[in-house]
Symmetry: C2
Subunit: 424 residues, 2 copies
């Protein structure tokens, strides 16, 4: 809405934005819900932060975000959190741009809290069906040839509360169990060459050093294909809650398998039937049976703005933003609908588009106050198309938790506010 | 050296690493200078961090590094720092992996301290030779089409103390005025389309909102080619010391031109002869004349490990790490010498190799305690080859500060310690 006493800039037909002010007016069009600017800080005045010497280089040897960004944090859902020590929080996707997740905002999921591992005492033990059972120090791992790869990590339960309806009214809570960083580490194929794999080895049990002793079984083909032991993320050492000083990286597969604080890899000839692959991380089907070992995270996408946390603040030209990913390879295309799936437009993908990596997409659109039903639909290079919740429910029923990659719908109201809704 | 009472693992000829221990011994080969492990934490014992519930998800809504990584920080050189408010610190390149610089470790350089800009009051003013002088809010900028690009930012004075000899004994202090992040923002060509550029406009003066009123002149061709106004880095809002809430990005050109806290772009028909392009940021030549407007950062590289801060901790297989970059495009090749430039080997480049972006390279090598003279030499896609200091001095003399992209030499001694030395 236009505030009385203010004038919008005189805009020609060539103008993209309705909100930019001609010089001489004191502010842009006032948006619903927008914070009021302090006129003393606006041109032609000298802003209050300009005349005085600012903070020096010694203020923060390790830098921190602006205090004006203090709302951009990982958040947990109280009723989802059984205890403060063993639970989950969510990445604030709605406030992020690009495809790198800053390390401080990568969601956490742990089953026994975050252990404080002294890197001097860290060891990775390899045993079982190998020629040489060996124990590696962190320094040993860093002397191996190195691999550097961007990969998304998504919890199998991401969106798990949304199987029966739109339950949590936020992008962060319904999609925020995913993050994407550049990992640096050692290919497991190189470690396997070092220890020598016996011909009968077909499974690997990966075990963490946390108090849950988190462990999972992984087929040897995946281990030799693209798994790695990572010791760095986004250029620096792994964060404690992401497995410092070393974790398993299992590209494209559910996050639970990316064992953190990894202390042991046992090579065997059958799966280990660990707690986390029997009592949990299975997919309950409509007939009451449960599927095991559904490791791959299928193609998925989400519109990160607008979304329940990101209302539209003005009419006119908008830039829709979103993220897409696939555990089967590269994202090929993302389509966006503003009318609940009747009409679709293809969004722009922002490169580099990489294998098993988040891909940023954007789409400009005009908004004049009409109601919108915003959806996005990802397609990956295998030809797979992200399904509707109806299509998923036909196969999986209503009682599943894991592997919900359904298209979501954000309803934009006339006042610009946004709700998570269920269509059909 | 091997510690008494410990045994190295029995290693076959197939073994890559000398340091990995066979299971049953208590530790790997003890390295010179390495911290002593606590035997109680090593296999087969249960480590002290395992039996107890660790920290919960609410410990750090915005995560922080492990306390064991507290040495990985930006550092300043006391005698280089005229005041704590107006100076420089350095990225700890020797401790980083991959090519993403974490936001908290991106070096700082400011001329009037870090202003605290309230994003609600932030404005970008466009004036001069344009059809429509306009003022944009931050929300306006975020409604433009978006670009996402990884780029290095290097201060023109990086390595400036090394013109006459090896002066600072550290990788961080001699190469650390560079960082590399994914920027999200608006192409200046899109903003120019919005305001309409008059035909006679040939230069743009970019001005910051800090107390220095930092400003620089940029030719319109560069502005329209690939410059952008960035509002995010590595996925989140710009950090205060990097120009929050918006900065200019001038890919491949000296960092001083990437005006932070940007408040104004004035379009004109000649350069503005600002203080920072006349009294500073010029290149003094051998004959006492100074070159102006030497904007491009030529191809450069550095070995980040081993380096003065990263001694070799053991004999046997090592992994040399380094970074290369060019302001003229992509890195094409990096060669590494271990004998002061007599023999060269081509290093592995870790993709994606991108335009005007840091590129990680690695090279495995064997070390048996002999002295090494380690060098790296970058080549970019234009065919440019990183020069020796002698080649640079022939053209530039001894009194330059800026644009030193000479090959550096790290001398590795028999005990594994490393010094910055000058060859020839």
């Amino acid at each position: 809405m236009t505030k009385k006493g203010q004038q919008a800039g005189s805009l020609s037909r060539r103008s993209l934005l309705g909100g930019a002010a001609a010089i001489g007016t004191t502010a842009a069009l006032k948006s619903a819900g927008a914070l009021e600017a302090n006129p003393a800080n606006l041109p032609p005045n000298v802003s209050e932060w300009t005349p005085y010497l600012g903070a020096g280089v010694d203020a923060n040897p390790y830098g921190v975000p602006s205090e004006f960004e203090s709302h951009v944090v990982r958040r947990s859902v109280e009723w989802l959190t059984a205890s403060t020590e063993s639970s989950v929080n969510f990445t604030p996707l709605q406030d992020l741009e690009g495809f790198v997740t800053p390390n401080g905002l990568c969601f956490e999921r742990h089953h026994g809290g975050v252990p404080e591992v002294n890197p001097v005492d860290y060891r990775l033990m390899i045993n079982g069906l190998v020629d040489r059972e060996l124990i590696f120090t962190l320094d040993d791992l860093k002397r191996f040839p190195q691999t550097n790869r961007f990969h998304f990590l998504e919890c199998a339960a991401n969106g798990g509360m949304e199987w029966r309806g739109a339950q949590l009214n936020g992008c962060q809570y319904t999609f925020g169990m995913v993050h994407n960083v550049q990992y640096t580490g050692v290919k497991l194929s190189d470690i396997c060459r070092e220890v020598g794999i016996k011909p009968e080895a077909s499974w690997v049990m990966a075990e963490g050093g946390d108090s849950a002793g988190m462990n999972r079984s992984i087929p040897i083909e995946k281990i030799l294909d693209d798994c790695m032991i990572a010791y760095a993320m986004n250029g620096e050492a792994l964060r404690p809650e992401q497995g410092y000083p070393a974790r398993l990286v299992v590209p494209g597969w559910e996050g639970n398998m990316w064992v953190k604080w990894i202390r042991r890899l046992e090579f065997g000839d059958m799966p280990y039937m660990a707690r986390e692959e029997t009592s949990k991380y299975t997919d309950l089907m409509e007939d009451g049976k449960a599927r095991m070992f559904t490791w791959v995270m299928d193609a998925k996408s989400v519109v990160t703005s607008p979304c329940p946390e990101k209302a539209l603040m003005s009419k006119g030209t908008q830039l829709l933003r979103g993220l897409a990913w696939s555990g089967r390879g590269k994202i090929d295309r993302v389509d966006v609908s503003l009318d609940g799936g009747k009409n679709w437009q293809t969004a722009e993908l922002h490169g580099p588009v990489m294998d098993k990596c988040l891909t940023r997409f954007t789409l400009p659109f005009e908004w004049n106050g009409e109601e919108l039903l915003v959806q996005s639909r990802a397609m990956d290079e295998t030809g797979y198309v992200q399904p509707t919740i109806g299509e998923l429910q036909k196969v999986r029923g209503l009682n599943s938790i894991y592997h919900n990659n359904a298209i979501a719908t954000w309803q934009v109201h006339a006042d610009g506010s946004v709700d998570n809704v269920r269509l059909g």
